[in-house]
């Protein structure tokens, strides 16, 4: 079975700073997908960024980028120039490449951006 671990329950940074959220996972699969989801306070969960394990190049989406280390089974999220609107719960998630499209989530990291 796959497991996803987020070891930082809470983080807090000042606006405009860069912050990195950690995620590690355990799997015996060779091909899979990894995701970061964001859940703002009292709002719906939305996708931030996704990575295919067979791609070596790290995914980027504007101010959001990942550091994907396949051998280390690590998938961290970097938020550059953080904004107040980045305040949210962030979840790392794993999905197998084939079979049922089920997500396995980590415990979440509550990120607060301070003005």
């Amino acid at each position: 079975a796959q497991t996803v671990t987020q070891s930082q329950p809470e983080m807090s940074v000042q606006e405009a700073e860069t912050v990195t959220l950690s995620c590690t996972y355990d799997t015996s699969e060779n091909n899979y997908y990894l995701f970061w989801y964001k859940q703002p306070p009292s709002r719906q969960m939305i996708l931030v960024i996704r990575q295919e394990a067979y791609k070596q190049q790290n995914a980027t989406e504007n101010r959001f980028s990942v550091n994907f280390q396949k051998a280390a089974k690590s998938f961290s999220l970097k938020i550059s120039d953080s904004q107040l609107g980045d305040t949210a719960m962030y979840f790392c998630a794993f999905m197998k490449f084939q079979g049922a499209q089920k997500l396995v989530f980590g415990q979440g990291t509550r990120l607060t951006i301070n003005p």
């Binding site: 999905m95 049922a100 089920k102 997500l103």
Partner: protein
Amino acid sequence: DVKVTQSSRYLVKRTGEKVFLECVQDMDHENMFWYRQDPGLGLRLIYFSYDVKMKEKGDIPEGYSVSREKKERFSLILESASTNQTSMYLCASSPQTGGLETQYFGPGTRLLVL
């Protein structure tokens, strides 16, 4: 835009009651999911469905059942609610086109069982 709606944002029920949580999506997605979200545990999959009348157990199906009679609607049923089912319940949907497709989430139902 994909829209996933859930019938209630907040629900208060008594122990032993039968509880229905409804989820509707408007994008003709084949896959639908029910998760529960608890602090420190993240989201855990209860049940999912990849077609009408099809269902599969997730990681924590005990105490729950589901129904999918129409493609757009996926219901979660608590046959006899218990206090340990107090939680946030999230519904999600996704197309059957491949794993990289994101799941689209509803706003959640916060259930309190007294």
